[in-house]
């Protein structure tokens, strides 16, 4: 009994189409709202990259895209081997361009409900009855609690009682105590819209009872973690963190919730012992299966806090990206002398930086670059390029896909030696002065990059040169292609500037249409402590400056605070950093901007 699309949502869809048409002509308030939302993205991004002033931030940034794959066959992180259930994957109907729920056949619905119920069996705790589920609304922070709950209830087939509604970072959460309610709520996902006609998604995951309901556990429970590990045999199966964390005696201790970092460290410490045992001699990665940076950190790799215990699953997966490899490959087993049948691909890992210093430098650079690229005037990037820099762009798209015809703005500039044989054009499409480059960049469509999707590889480093690649997704935010998600890879080769900054000498951009699998609005995964909570309190005057800065530039408070702080609360200087002057200095090849101070702050040009 596939439900017919309710009239309300059809009306909404028509509204959305109308709106899109209006924007093509010349949008209205949408711009303001989208800027506000964009600023929240920056806030999230900012939290996702570690705070450089803390010495022990986690040193890897595994790509979150490994959890973004909405295709159930590719995302293989759940326990049940019979049917794939991916609570953290983006539901199919959330993908761009899909307007109906394709797979809610009766069989699927029953199966999913059974899965939800079964998944709770592992989470039942001593003394608690009933199955709890955590309901998460990404970007829920935008919505008023009452409004949101009413809206959800209006589309939900069963009445529900939300427990412990709260906001955390960008998300809104609450708990329900019943699998069929959870299931009904899951079906609401994508069927409700906010005032901006954006779909609201609802994610449902098994959970322990919320703190207020759950009784206090004694500290002995924590010791159960170790025996759980030992129960496992020395097989790769033991490293399935998803399975591990859904087991009753591993998760769901109140003390863990109260002191998450302490217990995460403990459990990771335990885990590392076992990982070392399991790792085979044939392991290609000499660092015994853990990220090189994590090993250097001396075992206690995790120094972030996890305020919410059910986010532990995602967080753990992040720290062990090889365990949630894109196509579910196993870690390499020892090869006995390599017949083809035994050869396995090495598991895919997250970003590679080479060192903490480089990581800070590169992330600062990317942050600053994309801030201007997305929100500023791209001509302001002039100061970031060497006078004799080179830039070229290539796009690849499926000519049959109607949406990709919109890539034509890129197409004019696209340089692909496989297709392009004209030597004159080959030269012309390689931009080679910084003036030409920023002019080219300025005519490319306006974008919003998803910094949380960034995967960075620093593949070359000498005193004179740094080579790095960034991959990720971005969204077009204007005109007909508004909302289209693109996948990109960008290669920067930089030389150092006098003020320990980076100056771009080669820039290669590659764009592809990400299509329905390219995800946007991915579930933001809490990873680091909020920036603001680790900073000393601001004085009255400083607070006023932050408010003013935020209001002036439409920027969120966290970012505003950082900009001001990094410029020693010199308001003027902070604004100059944001909007780099268009004039270049007299020196050929010298970049004056994008400087990074020793403390990791950003400083504007010195005259």
């Amino acid at each position: 009994m596939a439900e017919p699309e309710p009239v309300a949502s059809m009306a909404k869809r028509n509204q959305a189409n109308d709106r899109a048409a209006k924007e093509a002509v010349g949008g209205h308030n949408h711009q303001v709202n989208s800027v506000q939302r964009r600023e929240r993205w920056w806030g999230t991004f900012r939290r996702r990259f570690p705070n450089w002033s803390e010495p022990d931030s986690p040193s890897t940034n595994p790509s979150f895209r490994q959890q973004q794959d909405g295709d159930a066959t590719a995302s293989d992180t759940y326990v049940d081997s019979a049917v794939r259930y991916t609570p953290y994957a983006i539901p199919r109907y959330h993908r761009r361009g899909t307007f109906h729920k394709q797979d809610q056949t009766p069989v699927n619905m029953q199966r999913e409900q059974k899965l939800l119920e079964r998944s709770m069996e592992g989470c039942r705790l001593n003394g608690t009855s009933g199955s709890w589920f955590k309901i998460t609304i990404p970007f829920g922070i935008k919505y008023d609690e009452k409004w949101l709950l009413n809206l959800i209830q209006s589309q939900c087939s069963v009445p529900f009682t939300p427990f412990e509604f709260h906001y955390e970072k960008m998300q809104a959460h609450f708990f329900v105590d019943n699998a069929s309610i959870a299931f009904a709520l899951k079906n609401v996902s994508g069927n409700i819209w906010d005032q901006d006609n954006e779909r609201i998604s609802i994610f449902v995951s098994p959970s322990d009872a919320p703190r207020s309901v759950h009784k206090e556990l004694k500290s002995e429970k924590v010791q159960q973690i170790k025996p759980t590990m030992k129960k496992r045999d020395d097989s790769q199966e033991a490293l399935d963190i998803q399975r591990l964390s859904s087991e009753a005696d591993f998760m769901g201790h109140d003390e863990m919730a109260a002191n998450p970092s302490k217990y995460m460290a403990t459990s990771l410490g335990v885990h590392e012992e076992n990982v070392t045992k399991v790792e085979s001699a044939g392991e290609m990665d000499k660092k015994k299966g853990l990220e090189p940076q994590q090993m250097r950190a001396g075992g206690n790799a995790l120094c972030t806090t996890f305020p919410d215990k059910s986010s532990n699953i995602n967080s753990i997966l992040e720290l062990f990206p090889k365990l949630s490899c894109l196509d579910g490959q196993e870690s390499p087993r020892p090869t006995l002398g390599g017949t083809e049948a035994h050869k396995k691909l090495p598991t895919c890992k997250g970003s590679v930086f080479g060192s903490e210093t480089l990581k800070n430098l590169v992330l600062q650079f990317l942050q600053q670059y994309y801030l201007i690229y997305d929100y500023g005037d791209r001509r302001d990037l002039l100061g970031a390029y060497h006078v004799m820099a080179r830039f070229s762009l290539t796009i690849l798209f499926n000519p049959e896909d109607p949406a990709s015809s919109i890539l034509c703005k890129y197409f004019k500039e696209s340089r692909n030696l496989k297709m392009l044989k004209d030597p004159y054009l080959r030269v012309r499409l390689l931009k080679h002065t910084k003036r030409d480059i920023v002019d080219s960049l300025s005519v490319l469509p306006k974008t919003q990059h998803d910094l949380s999707s960034f995967l960075v590889d620093v593949w070359f480093q000498t005193e004179m040169m740094l080579g790095l690649s960034v991959s990720g997704v971005f969204k077009e935010v204007e005109g007909k292609s508004h909302g289209c998600v693109r996948a990109f890879t960008r290669i920067f080769i930089t030389v150092p500037t006098g003020n320990s900054g980076l100056c771009i000498i080669n820039d290669k951009l590659f764009v592809r249409d990400a299509g329905p699998q390219g995800t946007w609005n991915t579930l933001p995964i809490p990873m680091v402590t909020p920036y603001s909570s680790s900073m000393p309190a601001l004085s009255q005057e400083q607070q006023k400056m932050v408010q003013a800065f935020s209001a002036q530039f439409g920027m969120n408070l966290e970012w505003s605070q950082k900009c001001l702080r990094d410029n020693q609360w010199d308001y003027i200087r902070a604004t100059q950093v944001l909007f780099l002057p268009k004039m270049t200095s007299g020196n050929s090849g010298q970049c004056e901007h994008f400087t990074v101070t020793k403390s990791g702050g950003l400083v504007g040009a010195e005259k």
Binding site: K349, N416, L417, N506, A514
Partner: protein, 142 residues
């Protein structure tokens, strides 16, 4: 300072090197895997989906361990790298993209970038890989 004529020659040279190199590289990778490390400098580094492999010995082991491959390259681009970065050693950035099927695995889109450096002998110029960065791109559809 290069005149535009010099620049054109400069670019032509880089493009020719890139195209030749790409053909050789993927042919060797697919059909003569054991010979692949000859294309790398002694101290070259490969970052393969986040796995760091440095030096010829490690590279040899790595390519030995990798299942047999079938590459299809759809995009090639290159840029000469300014000598300020390379201390006058002629260097070209080569970027490729396409699909690859490793034996026993599903097909993947990939992006790869090479830093090639020219090693001149009296007879000719040999381009060798100083750095190689390879990534699957599974969120792409084209």
């Amino acid at each position: 300072m290069a005149t535009s004529m010099d620049f054109k020659t400069y670019v032509d040279q880089a493009c020719r090197a890139a195209e030749e190199f790409v053909n050789i590289y993927y042919e060797t990778m697919d059909k003569r895997r054991r010979a692949l490390t000859r294309l790398y400098l002694e101290k070259a580094t490969l970052i393969w989906n986040g796995n760091v492999v440095t030096g010829l010995e490690a590279l040899t082991n790595f390519f030995e361990m990798l299942p047999s491959s079938e590459f299809q390259v759809n995009m090639v681009d290159c840029q000469p790298v300014h000598e300020q970065a390379t201390q006058s050693q002629t260097t070209v950035l080569v970027v490729t993209s396409g699909t690859v099927k490793f034996d026993g695995n599903k097909q993947h889109y990939f992006n790869q970038s090479f830093l090639l450096t020219a090693q001149s002998t009296p007879n000719n110029t040999v381009w060798k890989i100083a750095s190689d960065c390879f990534r699957f791109q599974d969120w792409a559809t084209s």
